[in-house]
Amino acid sequence: MEALGYGGRIWSHFDTTGLPGYIIQSLLILISPALFAASIYMVLGRIVALVDGERHSLIRRRWLTKLFVTGDCVSFLVQSMGGGIQAAGTLELLHIGEKIIVAGLFIQIFFFSIFMIVAFAFHFRVSKSPTTLSALPSIPWRSHILILYITSGIILVRSVFRIVEYLMGNSGYILAHEYMLYIFDTTLMLVVLGIFLWRHPGELFLGSDKGTSFGRLMNIELEPNGTLN
């Protein structure tokens, strides 16, 4: 509902000048992957807590989510700053804004890469020396961490595409051809959306009391055969 009302307001702006609409469009396309990333980052922290594997994580769980979500925010703020400068009205500022947006995208790629390394290291180390909880068949954390690899990989591809788009400039091939946007942005984001509808991470955390590993441990003690609930 809110989105519709907002859309209406934007629409009324559009008739007078195209610029506010363009600024909002570019902000929306910048903010969406950052929001997707924030949830993906939080899921890893919860998986670490779920299998009680903090000692296998390169970064302590308390810092895991904070670090990545902060990086995500920085990346988004830098990108939107670049977008704002770009729309300020001169050709010179357009190019400065472009460079700032590319810097923001590199920050996003940097944090995504670190994230994938941390996730993979965790996966590898838990596989080598499993925790009590990670060995339970009722906790399919492996398939969910695999989904995190896939989805963050897809968003990484999208960020690289964005960088190439900006480096090619305003008259570049990508910006001049709409179908490129639909392949590398719309479709990729829809695939991520679909993957998380197919296997929602929430199903991992439902079986436990309040989603804590403590709840899981209590359940095991009650049912030694390893079945939860």
């Binding site: 989105a3 907002y6 859309g7 934007i10 629409w11 559009f14 008739d15 000048t17 195209g18 610029l19 609409g21 363009y22 909002i24 469009q25 570019s26 929306l28 396309i29 903010i31 969406s32 992957p33 950052a34 929001l35 997707f36 924030a38 949830s39 993906i40 939080m42 899921v43 919860r46 770009q86 729309a87 300020a88 009205g89 001169t90 050709l91 357009l94 008259s171 910006l175 001049a176 709409e178 639909y182 719309t186 984001m189 829809l190 959306l193 679909g194 998380f196 509808l197 929602h200 991470p201 929430g202 199903e203 955390f205 439902l206």
Partner: protein, 76 residues
Amino acid sequence: MLYIRDDYNFALYQYTPELVPAIAAATLFSIGGIAHIVFLLRLRANYFIPFTVGCFCMSQFHILRVSDHIIRARAN
């Protein structure tokens, strides 16, 4: 607030956005976003709130392209 020179026409793209893919994408992102709201509530997955908001941002982005198409088509 924003100072725009007369000889400078800022545009994100130099074409008229296509109508059909924009409507299709806006619809899919809206449906997906609503489905994620359902999951959000059923699975009590608060950490997926940003993701769900992101779905509606993508939907809104494509809605803006629909309106941009209509405005440009009207202007021509």
